[in-house]
């Protein structure tokens, strides 16, 4: 696609797993795509301590907010496309949780847009994680990290997203 065309933006919030390769392929088409970046967030067992995570979300708002920031990414960088998929429900350790794919003519824009999307997701998209212990019992809700707020802060995010 050329820069004049509208970037492809696709945001999904779903319980089902996603196919990283298939999503990346969708953004690789087009004669001027030179760079595709994928970020996959994976559920860690934390050294065997956890069975996985339970992810609660706010239906409707989750899609709205992620779409908003994906559109903001497309305004800030010359990307040809951005896909963001976030799962909810029970996620076993080793399974994928979140996917961001960005594409551009050049690598700088693709990397920056992907990082921007992830930083934002962590601190602004209405999802909440709860640990599930190795014995299957429910653990504590995960606490938000100051490091994530710092990462989001470097993009002047509040001005952009509100």
């Amino acid at each position: 696609m050329t820069m004049d065309e509208q970037p492809l933006i696709d945001v999904r919030v779903q319980a089902e797993p996603f196919d990283v390769a298939a999503e990346a392929k969708r953004l690789s088409a087009g004669s001027d795509v030179g760079a595709v970046v994928t970020f996959t967030g994976i559920c860690r067992s934390d050294g065997g301590r956890l069975n996985g995570l339970e992810l609660e979300h706010y239906p409707g708002m989750a899609e709205n907010e992620i779409t908003r920031v994906a559109e903001e990414a497309a305004r800030r960088w010359p990307i040809s496309g951005a896909i963001a998929i976030h799962r909810y429900g029970t996620i076993a350790a080793g399974e994928d949780i979140v996917l961001v794919v960005t594409a551009s003519a050049h690598r700088g824009a693709a990397f920056a847009a992907a990082e921007f999307l992830m930083d934002w997701l962590k601190t602004r998209a209405p999802f909440w994680k709860r640990e599930i212990f190795a014995d299957g019992t429910a653990g504590p809700w995960v606490e938000a990290k100051a490091a994530d707020d710092d990462a989001a802060g470097r993009w002047n995010l509040d001005k952009a997203a509100e």
Binding site: H86, I97, F127, W128, W141, E143, A144, D148
Partner: protein, 83 residues
């Protein structure tokens, strides 16, 4: 007006959603939190630390001083931990 509660706020309140009709003096999100805290122990437990609670009106993030007039759906939740 519909209220939604998520994550540990939902658990402390003991319900995921409810319909409310607060008095006219409740003008902002902060007023609403104060009014909710007066409704019983479970609300005091959920909203006892106001600085941790986040809110959205009609699916858009808002602050404690945001007016609630015209809101159809107000949600309360802890800081987000997605991604």
């Amino acid at each position: 007006m519909k209220l939604l509660y998520f994550a540990w706020i939902r658990e402390r309140v003991g319900q995921a959603e409810e319909d409310i009709d607060p008095p006219a003096a409740v003008r902002t999100v902060g007023d609403l939190v104060a009014w909710l805290r007066g409704r019983g122990e479970e609300f005091e437990y959920a909203f006892g630390n106001e600085t941790v609670v986040r809110a959205a009106i009609d699916r858009t993030h808002v602050q404690l001083d945001t007016p609630i007039e015209g809101a159809r759906e107000i949600a309360f939740f802890p800081p987000m931990t997605g991604g």
